[in-house]
Amino acid sequence: MAELAAVVGIGQTKYQTQRSDVSIAGLVREAAMNALNDAALFWDDIDAVILGKAPDMFEGVVMPELYLTDALGCNGKPMIRVHTAGSVGGSTAIVAASHVQSGVFKRVLTVTFEKQSESNAMWALSNPQPFSPHLNAGAGGYFAPIIREYIRRSNAPSDAGIKVAVKDRIHALKNPLAHLQLPDISAEMVEASPMLWDPLRFLESCPSSDGACAMVIAHEDLVNQSPGKPAWIQGAAMRSEPTMYAGREQVSPHAGRDCAKDVYAQAGITDPRKDFDCAEVYVPFSWYEPMWLENLGFAEPGKGWELTMSGATSLDEGGDIPWNCSGGVLSSNAIGASGMIRFAEAARQVRGSAEDHQVEGAKKALGHAYGGGAQFYAMWVVGAEKH
């Protein structure tokens, strides 16, 4: 049976368009050092390093774990590199947790990053693939038609996306690490921003960020060696489905529903809206909040936008189930790290260390990541208690 593990240290960098003051190694080391400091530990206390990031083409470094071993104090230790598309930040946390839950390791460091300013993500995502028609669309162009289908099915009002875009940027104002700090954000401002991929406007899309996120995950036996409250890992799950198959449901993907069902069963969640105090969910484009509210069972099919519009997901409006109190992917998107930031922010909430964007008394939180063309999912449930 699996051993109990908990997050005992979290470290992030400031997210911004370009971190020209640090190398890639400097960036990951900054997050790793912050996590070690948070856990009151040193490099020698770490048994293994689990690194994750999205495609190597984002920086132009092949298998950068080889180069980053020195910066991450890993020489002579095990180093593993996870890559599961945009869900990688979440998957990496789950692979790291399995190092401890398996009983093989006592304490591991996990780090994810993207230094998108080194390259051009749009190019790296859209370069021609051998034997495939060239789709020069980027992520927004890929998801826009799926969003339009959601709007058609659910009869959602056209401003539901705008509501999310404003809400997450208001949340970001309470998180000094968030990339976008837009104190004047308003529905009018979002609506007036250029339409990029109908119905997605510029301000309904995530930024492109440099940044890194790290966590220290420890076995139950060692949790007390770190001063902060632990975030107990109560459940973790991954699911993948193919890119192309007959009858694939792209608006509310089967893999997402199954992954949620799995992780809820592990953590004893029966009514996600009631049982969770908050959630950090991968919403890179505004409309994915109502879509994921339904996919993850927080709302009935077709009703996700109603929850969004009611303010239920807003910390600022005192909603009962705040989503993305950190500002979410819409406010900071260092792609390879984005999933782990969700997982780490969920952990911060149940540790009571989320500072200005803390949900008061949060005991249970969901961390969620997805990737590719929404084929890949990683989720975890963390709690203030062991079970």
Partner: protein
């Protein structure tokens, strides 16, 4: 740790150019064959799937995404991917079994190196600020390592040629090998050096292909009523990236991994070593503490065919196959990643 059983392993032929075959077409035959060999009908019959591949080989971001289309992952599956040799996908799967979250797993690795110049592509593995701009390719780095080994005075050029002679001879019995035949040390030493002190035959060929494996708990393997080999120990370690800070004639990471995996706990009679360059076989063999009684690379090793991103998994599979066949009792499989053997994994296998 509980023992984990390897119940099937299948590898494609190593070919220089797989032509117009895409990832799905490379992966599907080996996955189907591995499932069949284990008596399973589809990917839905295993609890976890994990793969290893490298985007840069094909020059396409997310090369592994298409790989999932080869599996029949409907309904969706529990699946993960490492941007590493599939030997590390085996490691991730082994952890899942240890933690009780899976009783069985499918592991596969694939690589299509033919679209690019592999030795140049891999120079992008180097530190992007201080090393990559120098444009040193993989072969040149390996040649520096070979030179440092030769200059230690303990190994001669004839020893390097001997490695190749054995590889080519062993590969005659491996239907998937790309290079095989009968050669003598004298013949090989008469060949010109390409990047001194390496000759062309000291370097692995470049191959396209894939490999797949099924592992499971011992209970499950018994229930399958199929012969199997056991993973008794597995460990991997990495060293500093800066080649100038390393004694390239040694491999401390292999030494640590061998110790942790329990190589020395009992005698070893077979080893498959992932040595893309002849001199690296000598370095790894010495770091493993193996003497000349141990059969090294009975498959011919990667000098006979190099499925980049699957070769590490293949080493484990080649040892497992031979243990299952009763040819050997206790074996070691080695996998490597990075320039000059920077990162290494050691797996110890025994019979049922």
């Amino acid at each position: 740790m509980q023992d984990v059983a390897i119940v099937s392993f299948v590898q494609s032929d190593c070919v220089r150019h797989a032509g117009a075959q895409n990832e799905v077409e490379l992966i599907m035959p080996v996955v189907q064959a591995a499932l069949k060999e284990a008596g399973l009908s589809s990917v839905q019959d295993v609890d976890f799937t994990c793969s290893g591949s490298c985007d840069y080989q094909q020059g396409a971001a997310f090369a592994f995404v298409a790989g999932v289309d080869a599996l029949g992952a409907v309904p969706p599956i529990k699946e993960s991917h490492v941007e590493m040799d599939a030997a590390w996908a085996l490691y991730e799967s082994w952890l899942k079994i240890q933690m009780g979250q899976a009783e069985s797993a499918l592991i596969y690795g694939f690589g299509k190196s033919s679209p690019g110049q592999l030795s140049n592509v891999l120079s992008l593995q180097l530190d992007p600020y201080y090393l990559a701009p120098l444009g040193v390719d993989t072969i040149s780095l390996a040649a520096m390592q070979a030179r440092s080994l030769l200059e230690s005075g303990e190994v001669s050029e004839a020893d390097l040629a001997e490695v190749v002679v054995n590889s080519r001879a062993n590969a005659k019995n491996n239907p998937h090998a790309q290079l095989s035949g009968d050669f003598t040390v004298e013949q090989l030493l008469a060949e010109p050096e390409t990047v001194s002190p390496l000759r062309k035959h000291d370097c692995c060929p470049i191959s396209d292909g894939a490999a797949a494996m099924i592992i499971c708990t011992v209970d499950k393997a018994k229930a399958m009523d199929k012969p199997y080999a056991l993973i008794k120990g597995i460990d991997h370690r990495i060293e500093t990236h800066h080649v100038t800070l390393r004694d390239l004639s040694r491999s401390p990471s292999v030494e640590i991994a061998a110790e942790k995996a329990g190589v020395h706990d009992a005698p070893v009679d077979v080893a498959e070593i992932y040595a893309p360059f002849s001199h690296q076989e000598i370095i790894v063999k010495r770091a493993l503490g193996l003497d000349n009684s141990v059969a090294i690379n009975p498959s011919g090793g990667v000098l006979a065919g190099h499925l980049f991103m699957a070769s590490g998994l293949s080493r484990v599979g080649e040892v497992a196959k031979r243990i299952i066949a009763g040819e050997y009792k206790r074996g070691v499989a080695h996998a490597t990643s990075g320039p000059c053997l920077q990162q290494n994994m050691i797996t110890v296998l025994e019979g049922m």
